[in-house]
Amino acid sequence: MKMSGAEIFVKALADLGVDVVFGYPGGAVLHIYDELFKNTKVRHLLTRHEQGAVHMADGFARASGRTGVALVTSGPGATNTVTGIATANMDSIPIVVFSGQVPTLMIGNDAFQEADIVGITRPCTKHNYLVKETKDLARIMKEAFYLASTGRPGPVLVDMPKDVLMSTAEYVLPKEVSVRGYHPNYEGHPKQVESAIRALLEKERPVLYVGGGIILSSAASLLTDFARILGIPVTPTLMGMGAFPGTDPLYMGMLGMHGTYQANMAISHSDMIVALGARFDDRVTGKVDEFAPHAKIIHVDIDPTSIQKNVPVDIPIVGDLKDVLKKMIKLVKGTKEAAAYREKIAPWREQVRKWATTHPLSYKKTKGKIKPQYVVEQVYELTKGNAIVATEVGQNQMWAAQFYKYDRPRTFLSSGGLGTMGYGFPAAIGAQVAMPGKLVVDIAGDGSIQMNIQELATAVQYRQPVKVVILNNGVLGMVRQWQELFFQGKYSQTCLPQIPDFVKLAEAYGAKGFRATRTEDVAGVLKKGFEADGPVFIDIACDPNEMVYPMVPAGAPLTKMLLV
């Protein structure tokens, strides 16, 4: 039986197991919306901006491990997705974005609401498609989901001209996908793994440096086993938060620009770094030439381009971390060598512990304005570490990484690679949709929250009880921090004198709002906010002069930290 492209689209979504789509309608996708109107299998959530839709799909994916889906119209609808797509691309998040397109015959004619979205998103997708014929639609959709979620995950865009959605074809969803140019290598080479372990066991000052790859590959518990078997200290990147329990004695906290003294000193004195699903981002390495000057490097990644890109690597292993860690564990678990090794590196663990005590994460608890770090600590106390925490970008993001402990993967959602302000709130809504029973908290800045604040309407409409904790310092804090340190305190365009009343604003949208202006009220107000039904804004008046420490100035080596 022949079906229209729009019918094929909706049926294929259901057959591919998609039950939630975040989207926004328009002329080019009207036929799809007409189908969605009749369909009951696929739930569509109407967002208030296409960027919101893509971040929601992204938050949905990060929290659940399932591929997130967004649907938008042509032209402005499609271009509004670009920031969300680039965000997912930098952090390797599996999402599929479907965009409408003007009819095939009008493509290239500057038609109404036409944009070359395949061209625009080529450098920021894992792959993208323009569907030219209705008969190809189901196959391309199957491929898109396959590409998005396998190998190194990432966003895939499928652009669908209006006539393709209107014409008819036989519905054939292929069972198998075969893309000739795509063969991700899941299995780490056993010889390479063996030589890595051998090299590691010879060393005395090892560090496990772990990134988002551990979480993407669902390898967190294997990592924990491996670290404990050999007794090796662990430092995660921002993307690796939750890959290893934040409450474990081997945990050193994040490394890099705002990493802990302990982690940065450990890296700088290490003689063996085992990098697992991390890519040596410049926010992590500091000055590259002086990064880990004494260390040999073992680097495991599913994406060969990540290896040898920023730093020279001694033992590269291409493969899925699940496979490689299993192999590594098999080689050491229960062996005499492992026990001897744990023993041998005890002095190193002792040294690492000392660094933790000389300069622990801290802040000055002065009277007066509320300290944002204190607020994050209180959020941790109240949630007992059981929340899913999303963040915006800026100081709020760094404090959320520093002062909340993440024991499980998929509980910290943050725009790491692109650093997208406005990410956290829609991502939190997406995560809440994926995890209905969970407490989801967005730790926000007053600048960032205003970038996608319209999604409050979405949260209210669909009763998504996301709690937004606004660390309201009245400034674009992180930029102001740089001006303070490197531009002689000339605060050019970083003070926000015109901040809305977030409590009233929440109420205007039909949500609830709470406010704290004194330190002694913080815990109580947070508690009230978290216990209230539905979406909530909790506006906390924070000290505008507070800074994120430690800080490694851009381009300096990790040992040159500015401390509290």
Binding site: V118, G119, R122, P123, K126, H127, L130, L147, V179, R180, G181, Y182, D303, P304, T305, Q308, K309
Partner: protein, 158 residues
């Protein structure tokens, strides 16, 4: 160092811009690029000449491999290959230079493909060294215009 990279790609629209976009987006340089369908019409072959240090070349090869539309990447550098380029040269053909042009065309086994009152158009194929030498010898005669295809390269034997 200079590298000649042979890339098999899906013969579909947009592939060229995926490949060239990879180079421009990452600040890699393309010296020449030639592309056409292979015996299998669903596959095209590109020959890309580029240069960079070992680390850059390694990234170029890996990044090319990572593109979904790329089927196979081979670095032909250092391999035993047959290399060719086609050049068309418009050169002065005054009474006093004519014989010199004809002599060089003969020596280089080039071909005159168009004749105008004061100008010949010469076609020549060869590897890079030959093309370079030919152009150098023609220069004193007066070259008006040159077009080159860029290198195509194929491994010998098998």
């Amino acid at each position: 160092m200079r590298h000649t990279i042979s890339v098999l790609v899906e013969n579909e629209f947009g592939v060229l811009s995926r490949v060239s976009g990879l180079f421009s987006g990452r600040g890699f340089n393309i010296e020449s690029l030639s592309v056409a369908e292979t015996v299998d019409p669903s596959v095209s072959r590109m020959t890309i000449v580029t240069s960079g240090n070992d680390q850059i070349i390694e990234q170029i090869l890996k990044q090319l491999n990572k593109l979904i539309s790329v089927i196979k990447v081979v670095d032909l550098t250092g391999a035993d290959t047959v290399d060719r380029e086609l050049v068309l040269i418009k050169v002065n053909a005054d009474p006093e230079t004519k014989t010199e042009v004809l002599r060089l065309v003969d020596i280089f086994r080039a071909k005159i493909v168009d004749v105008a009152p004061r100008c010949y158009t010469v076609e020549m194929t060869g590897d890079e060294a030959k093309v370079k030498a030919f152009l150098q010898l023609l220069r004193p005669v007066g070259i008006k215009e040159v077009v080159r295809t860029g290198l195509v390269s194929i491994a010998r034997g098998m």
